[in-house]
Structures are given as C-alpha cells and as structure tokens.
C-alpha cells in the first residue's frame, strides 16, 4: 500500500468567541466585562490522503472547512491532535513546509493587481527561490496546460475572472508543490470557464501526480474531478468515501416515468411500486435501493408497449442537500 502524503489524526480546534446579547446596554456591558464561549470548530478530525489523489472537501458554510485547510497550510495551530503532511508538521518549520504546498483562495487574489501575471510569476520565482532553469520549464509547462499564452502579459485587473483563476493556479504551482489546496476555485465563474478550469485541473493532476484538496459548494466540480469526498459538518467528519455510494443510497428515490400505447391492463412489477397509472402513462419508484434497474425496465417492456421513458435521477445537489438535512448539519 502506498504511503499517505497527508495524515490527520484527531485534530481538534477550539475558538474562544466573545458572547454578547443584542442591544446597546449589553454592548456596553460586554465592553467592560466580556464573557467568552468556547466553540469546537473541529472535533477529532482524521483522514488520510494518498499522493496523486483528488479529494473533495465539502460541507455547509461554517462546518469547519476553512479551519481544516488553514491548519493544513500551517496558518493555524490546532488545539490538539497531530497532522503530518509530506513529513512535516505544517505549523512548525513553516518556511520550509510551505515550499511543498500551493494554495489558491478563490475569493482572494495571490497576484499583484496592477501588473501582468508574468510579473507576479517573476516575483514568486524570487519569493520561492526557484532556480531560473526550473522556473522557465515550469512556466512553459503551465502556460501550455492552463492556456496562458494570450493572457499572461495583460495587467491582472483587466483579466476576466476565469482568466485570472487560471493565472492564480499557475502562480500556486510555479514552485512545483506536491500538494495543491483549492479553496472554492470555481466560485463566480461562468459555465464555460468552469468547464475549462476543471479540465485544466484534471490534466495537471494526471500529468504531474499532484495531490489536490478541493473545497467547493459546486457538486459538479466534485463530479468532474474526483470520486472521493470528505463531508464535514459542525466540525465532525460525517462521511469519507465515494460520491457514487452516497448517490446509490438514494436510488430508491429515483422516479421512472413511462409513456405507452393505450392499455387498460394494470402494470405489475414485483420490485417497484406504482405511484400512479393512467391509460397511457405511469410513474413508479424502486421498492428497494438494491433493485436492479435493468430488470425493472425489462419487465416494463414485456407488459406494455413503451413510447417514451425517462428516469428522474436525483441531482448531486439534491443528494447533498438531503444528506445535510438527514445529518442535521
């Protein structure tokens, strides 16, 4: 078995926040005597990630995603637990450790605003102390895979969000890190930019065996890029595994709508429940999530003369929303 590159073991993080009720009186009171409340932002988080994996780290707002990322980047020190990434403890020996990681914050730019990206890249070369030759080679490679040729000489402020995001990713990868943290990289992008960005990320991952941790609210990002998700809610890990498995959990919620030539025969299928039937149409659901869809379709064809059939699959968004609701997060 391959060694994991990222290992989190029972990481917890507590924050002290000042508690205050509404109103001027309380505002003044809390100015003089502040009461603090401890909240558990992270509660015994553990997971392993292997080199070259892409992992989607998802959860509703305030679940603790950013806190985890910040701990893994060495920005925050956890209250307890251990975290070893590529042989380093992130918050110790920060300067050496951060050479191994690249970080893209979707909502904040890592580029200098008023100069073309290429100038930012040059400066990053010095900040990360990248040898000239390596730099040139990496830049060429990234220019190709992220399609930067046309845009790297335009001042950053004039780039579209999609173009800028491609430059941000290049900026985060120039020093050839082993791990890339992408914090909501597709936020605010239009459909075309999203698609091309996903393609770029996928290509880079396949080419360089880069380990990628991705936080996003866009389930299509996850579907396009990875099959492993780690779901976090209220500071706890609620699920770690494939997206498919979660989806199949809700397979019995799939609705089959079928239209057929006139018949007054009642449809009878052992594995499915008929929700409603008219003389020319019917809709049914699986009785059990383990039932085989093909069997049911076969059965249907043998009983009626099908004109049209469609299966209402639950979208990933629906699945995740349902999951959040079920887990009460």
């Amino acid at each position: 078995m391959e060694e994991s590159i990222i290992k989190l073991n029972n990481i917890s993080k507590q924050f002290k926040i000042s508690k205050r009720e509404a109103g001027m009186k309380n505002a003044i009171k809390s100015f003089f005597k502040r009461e603090y409340k401890t909240i558990n932002a992270l509660d015994n988080i553990s997971f392993d990630i292997k080199p070259g994996e892409i992992v989607g780290y998802i959860g509703p707002n305030g679940a603790g995603k950013s806190t985890t990322i910040k701990i893994m980047c060495g920005i925050l020190v956890p209250t307890s637990g251990e975290c070893i990434i590529d042989g380093f403890i992130p918050w110790k020996d920060r300067k050496k450790y951060v050479k191994n990681i690249g970080v893209v914050f979707g909502q904040r730019s890592g580029l200098w605003w008023d100069v073309p990206p290429i100038d930012s890249f040059e400066l990053l070369k010095d900040i990360y102390n990248i040898p000239q030759k390596e730099y040139e080679q990496k830049l060429k490679e990234l220019t190709e895979s992220l399609d930067l040729e046309e845009i790297k000489n335009i001042p950053t402020r004039q780039l579209s969000l999609g173009q800028r995001m491609r430059c941000e990713i290049a900026a985060a990868l120039l020093h050839n890190p082993k791990i890339l943290f992408l914090d909501e990289p597709t936020i605010g992008l239009d459909a075309v930019s999203k698609l091309s960005l996903r393609k770029c990320i996928k290509t880079i991952n396949e080419k360089t065996n880069l380990t990628i941790i991705l936080t996003t609210h866009d389930m299509q990002d996850i579907e396009a890029l990875t099959n492993r998700i780690i779901l976090i809610g209220k500071g706890k890990i609620l699920y770690d595994g494939s997206l498919e498995k979660i989806k199949s959990k809700y397979k019995d919620k799939m609705k089959i709508n079928v239209k057929f030539k006139y018949t007054d025969k009642k449809i009878k299928i052992k594995e499915a429940k008929i929700l409603e039937q008219t003389e020319e149409s019917a809709s049914l659901v699986l009785k059990h999530k383990d039932e085989n869809m093909a069997d049911i379709l076969n059965e249907l064809t043998s009983q009626v003369d099908i004109v049209d059939i469609n299966i209402e699959d639950m979208s990933t968004d629906d699945v995740i929303a349902k999951l959040y609701k079920e887990l009460k997060i």
Binding site: F15, K16, T67, K70, C73, G74, I75, L76, V77, W91, R94, K95, K96, V98, K99, I101, V103, F105, R108, G110, W112, W113, D114, V115, D119, L123, D126, I127, Y128, N129, P155
Partner: protein
C-alpha cells in the same frame, strides 16, 4: 533582502501605472510639508529663539525628523495599514509563503508619492546646514548618518508595534499615533525645551532624544562629548522589544486565526 527590493520595485511599477494620480499626490505631499516648514519659520518670526536654539538649528532638526518619518511612511506603509492585511485575510497568504512574515507585511505597500516630502526635507536640511557653520570632520559626517539611521529605526519600531497590536484588536489603535505622529512632532524640536518627565520618556522609552538632541549638541559644537555622537546606536534597544511583540502577535494569530 533581494525579495524585498524586487517587491518594492514591483509596487513602484504599479504606482507609475496611474500617472496622473501619482503626480497629483507627489505635489500634494510637497505642499503639505511646505506649509509645515513655513509654520516653523513664522514661529521664529515671533520668538527669534526657542531656548538656546536658533531658527536654522531647529529647521535642521525638523528636516531630519521629517525626512526619516517620510522615508518610514514610504517604505513601511504596509505596516501602517496592517489592519487591512489582517481584515482581508491577506496575512494568511503571507504565512503560506516561505519568507519572513514581517518583511512580507512591510512590502505589501509602498508609497512613492512621499518622494515630494523627502525632497523638501533634503532642501530644508541643506539650507540649514549651509547657514550653520558646523566644523565638519569625518566623525561628524559619520554622526550625521548615524542620527538618520537611528531616527529611522525608532520609526520602524513604532510602526512594527502599531502593526502588532492589530493581531489583538483587528482595528489599528489610534493611541499608537501618539507615538508616531506625536513622536514626530516632539522630536522636531530639541527636547530640552520640554518638561523633565517628557524628556525622560523620549530619552529612555521612545528614544528620540538619542537621535536628535544629544548627537546634535555634539554636531553643533554645543557639547564636546564625542560619545553623544554614537548614542543613536542604542535605538536598537528600542527595536528589539518591538520585534518581540510582533512575534508574540504572530503566535497569537496562529492560535486564533482572527
């Protein structure tokens, strides 16, 4: 250091992108300083002398302190506006880069327009010196350079301290301006014109006295103690605790992520 200067160069490049705004702010900064200089002149129109100090002597002090204050504002703008770096999360980015955090924070901003002020201060210093009849020798030149370095170090310390407090308060603290703005005002005049406790504060706590008063006494031939000239070196003792407070601040940030 290489990274520092390259970043500064980039920031200069960025400011030159906005040519008109740049020219206007240079002129602005020149004019504001000009008014201040004139005000010192009018003060002496009224009083002729302050304590034992003549107009050109005070003008020299004024120029020197203002020069270093302007240089600090130019180079340390990032620390001056440090609350923004904390608020917009820019400090997270600083922490994920393999360079010193204080250095990186310092070069998030660079205010080239202060060049207008710096020029004027140099002119004021120049005029004062030509009217002052100082018997120059190599040591006195050395003292003059040292005074300026010391003065910059004090402002550096104050700016670092001011930035460090943002780790706890998020907001920049107005009272820190007492040290930077107030210190600047106080140090423009020789400290022997002030009350005793005031003098003690600005000699031993925020040691402006070490960079203007004592070395200047020697420079102007008002005192013969040669060691007055090297007192600016002791400003390092002020800088060290400031950097320490900064370090504690960074540690605090890492555990709260505020």
């Amino acid at each position: 250091m290489k990274v520092y200067f390259k970043t500064i160069l980039m920031l200069i490049k960025m400011q030159l992108e906005y040519r008109k705004a740049f020219i206007v702010s240079v002129i602005g900064s020149f004019l504001i300083t000009f008014l201040l200089t004139i005000s010192v002149y009018f003060l002496f129109e009224e009083f002729e002398q302050i304590g034992n100090w003549t107009f050109y002597e005070v003008a020299f002090l004024f120029g020197m302190v203002f020069l270093n204050f302007s240089i600090s504002e130019m180079f340390l703008r990032g620390l001056d506006h440090f609350e923004n770096i904390i608020k917009n999360g820019e400090f997270d980015r600083i922490l994920i880069r393999p360079q010193n955090a204080l250095m990186q924070s310092t070069c998030t901003e660079f205010d080239l327009s202060k060049i207008g002020r710096i020029l004027q201060c140099l002119i004021v210093i120049g005029i004062s010196l030509t009217n002052l009849n100082i018997e120059w020798n190599l040591y006195k030149v050395f003292v003059f350079v040292l005074m300026n370095i010391g003065c910059f170090i004090i402002f550096l310390g104050i700016f670092i301290l001011k930035a460090s407090f943002c780790f706890w308060t998020i907001q920049g603290l107005e009272f820190m301006n007492i040290l930077s703005e107030g210190g600047k005002k106080v140090a423009q005049y020789p400290i022997d014109i002030y009350a005793k406790w005031f003098r003690i504060f600005f000699t031993f706590i925020v040691p402006f006295g070490l960079v203007n008063y004592y070395p200047v006494l020697y420079l102007f031939g008002k005192a013969d103690n040669w060691y007055f000239g090297i007192l600016p070196l002791f400003t390092i003792l002020f800088l060290i605790p400031c950097i320490l407070v900064w370090k504690i601040g960074v540690k605090h940030y890492e555990s709260t992520g505020s």
